[in-house]
Symmetry: C2
Subunit: 455 residues, 2 copies
């Protein structure tokens, strides 16, 4: 069998690869908190150099981008997009082991960022090590672009990609996320929703006031914020910004056909998250699949104001803040949503509510019938027990639009995630078994690039 030697090397190198991954995860790199970013960028660059990549740490104005390139046997180029930054680890008390002390339990490695997406990056290095050991060279050129602000909306990546189109040019791009669904079926995710992430801030006085004195007569920042938020979306999930839905285009028939091949999720979600219903009364699998991806959202991600400790404190808050994300579907854009949000708030008497733009990007997707998708699907064939399932778009967001827009490259996915990974949640983890499989999958993608013809 063609991949026998490579697979064997991947298995042999697994433990040292997990050690390398653990070192990466032990380095906090929380972009939202400016924590450990530079240190992690250096680790990533060093790990690429250790495989003979020419690696550079390139400044962006925010977290630096690590770029690494190694020539291969052919003139085909695989571009890999990963990120070394991670979500904030809070709430800390829900972690069973500390988020930055990678811990093995029952065949899984637990750490903040291990699934999203340091484990995928390390798995690709494992595949490269095996290929170099087996063949002395790589089947194609490989370029890594590893950024440090994915979890805060890739706020500085767009000008970087725009101004480095030649450096980043490639035939196919492997995206940061990938893995299997909750039925252990490998998945190919070809598109992502866009996002517009804002903080809404209300400020009504220069200090908190005793609620006895001020309750009847002083403006209350928490009330201002609550009323402003309530004006954005009604209880039936209708987003009330004027014009918000006007650019929304529904999924194609082909996309719906692919979505219909997905596993049943209703019972799974209900059990996993202990929820008893879905929004809008949805109780039908395909409807849920479409709603979860092709409808835009307005999600309150956080609220903070006044007294939040135990018991009671009779205070009238001078300040209140909400984190809000809008997930965008084709052809919405964050610029337009930001403008709609400002106009809506002003029109409803909330010109006192400040909007802080925390980053965003438009949605983007790859044609499910592109030949690059065939490579990714074929590469999964003898690695996983089940054939790969193509998912035309997912609910999450990322900077894939930049690669579509400036590099015109098809985007496929490969990674070690599964339904237990808990990206963004406490106790984020990956399965070691899937870690090995992701390395094998990536190695095959590299091999298949040798004979890639494109469109």
């Amino acid at each position: 069998m063609a991949y026998q030697k490579i697979d064997q090397l991947i298995e042999e190198k697994r433990d040292s690869s997990i050690e390398e991954l653990s070192r990466l995860c032990a380095q906090p790199s929380v972009a939202a908190q400016h924590l450990g970013i530079e240190e992690c960028a250096v680790l990533v660059a060093d790990s690429l150099r250790a495989r003979g990549f020419e690696a550079q740490i390139l400044l962006t104005g925010g977290s630096p981008v690590v770029f690494g390139e190694r020539k291969g046997r052919t003139d085909k180029t695989l571009l890999v997009y990963d990120h070394y930054d991670v979500q904030p680890p809070e709430p800390l008390d829900l972690w069973e082991s500390p988020p930055f002390e990678p811990t093995l339990r029952d065949g899984r490695l637990y750490a903040r960022g291990v699934a999203d997406n340091k484990g995928n990056f390390a798995g690709r290095l494992l595949a490269i090590d095996a290929l170099l050991d087996a063949e002395g060279e790589l089947p194609c050129n490989v370029k890594f672009v590893v950024e440090g602000e994915e979890e805060i909306g890739s706020v500085n990546l767009e000008p970087f990609v725009r101004s480095h189109q030649e450096l980043l040019a490639g035939d196919v791009c492997v995206w940061e996320v990938g893995g299997v669904d909750h039925m252990d079926q490998p998945i190919q995710m070809l598109g992502m929703r866009g996002i517009c992430y804002v903080e809404l801030r209300a400020r009504t006085a220069n200090q908190d006031v005793h609620s006895g004195t001020g309750g009847s007569i002083f403006p209350n920042a928490a009330w201002r914020l609550v009323w402003a938020l309530a004006s954005l979306k009604d209880k039936d999930e209708n987003i009330l910004l004027p014009g918000f839905y006007e650019d929304v285009i529904p999924p194609t028939e082909r996309e719906k056909e692919l979505l219909a091949q997905g596993p049943e999720m209703i019972a799974f979600y209900k059990e996993k998250y202990e929820i008893d219903h879905f929004l809008k009364g949805i109780n039908h699998e395909l409807e849920l699949a479409i709603e979860g991806v092709y409808e835009p959202t307005c999600t309150i991600c956080g609220l903070t104001s006044g007294y939040q400790g135990e018991g009671s404190k009779t205070v009238l808050p001078a300040e209140a803040r909400a984190k809000v994300d809008f997930r965008l579907v084709p052809n919405q854009t964050p610029e337009k949503v930001l403008a709609q949000l400002r106009a809506h708030l002003d029109a409803h008497g909330f010109d006192d509510i400040e909007i802080v733009d925390l980053g965003g990007n438009p949605p983007a997707k790859t044609d499910p019938d592109h030949p690059a998708v065939k490579i990714a699907v074929d590469a999964a064939k003898d690695v996983y027990d089940k054939p790969a399932r193509v998912i035309p778009m997912v609910g999450g967001s990322g900077p894939n639009f930049m690669f579509k827009t400036y590099l015109d490259v098809p985007i496929i996915s490969s990674g070690a995630g599964d339904s237990e990974s808990g990206a963004h949640a406490p106790n984020e983890s990956i399965s070691l078994d899937l870690y090995v499989k992701s390395a094998k999958h990536f190695a095959r993608i590299l091999k298949l690039m040798e004979s890639y013809k494109g469109l």
Copy 2:
């Protein structure tokens, strides 16, 4: 002059009294956080015993009540209600000196609880020390009831007062708060609004979820809470609980007449809190005074949900909580408001919102023409530069209703507070000058009790 010797003794003892007050304030006693309560009760009991009071620490099921009694020259009894618990000190970063390290700056003592109400308690001890030094005995019986849960709604005091009516019986009661307004005019506060303090809790799943996956399909606790809150009060400050206003009675003509004697507050509030308008467009002094006291409120005191750190985190919160206080005016009751709140939430589809009752009490007031009020006003005459102003009711709340209901005692006030005191806010403080004046005022009240006739 009759009080010359007593006043001189008060001034001589001022510094050692401030030291005693500082020891009291250095002892954290945050009822909401169960912090230092027992330790502070012991300090209070010891300080009473040091003045020859028989003091007991009486259990209530929550924070203990300190009761102290010393017989006097006459059979008249002055009851003093104080509390040794304090508000939580948060937000800590806004304190110029640590909240539990009492610090003197520019003639003021800064510490959590120094104004509300440890400074008033210590000032009364200073007056008692001077009287005992001057006369060897007290002019009347004095009873102290010093509770430890005032800042959390006196949740265990009502059964205590009800079951200790004989122990607590008195002719006049001095209330915990008192002092001067921002024009340095001494004030007599004769009534307090009631309060109903609740925490509203929404819980929609067993864990937070990535907002990309769940935003379109999973219920969001923060949204549930925001919608529920927005249903409670509209932007024009109308509280929407059915029946909420039906028990509200307007102020009497006598009360309005007294309110009209108050100082101008509009310019003062605007400058102090840097606010540019009042609720409901009010811009008239008497209107503001009436609104601030005789209208019930619904105040959001705190909001907490999901991610509250720097930058962005794309999470769909499983849990959200709000602290809400309703200030009640005659003849509202917290029991009825709680029932109205539950009925309202249920009727609006918010039966998933949990209401946690964090304590409450009804409003209560003393007749401004009661002879006890004359004592308090007369006692202020040669202490302050201005005559005392009678305030029929204030915006704040307290357990005064229990004393009205079970002890049938008129309630007057005496204390060291001023407009800079910042009760409940960071940098709480008292003026040392007013501290001495409050002791002199209290000493005069004791002396005037000798000839008190009652109604």
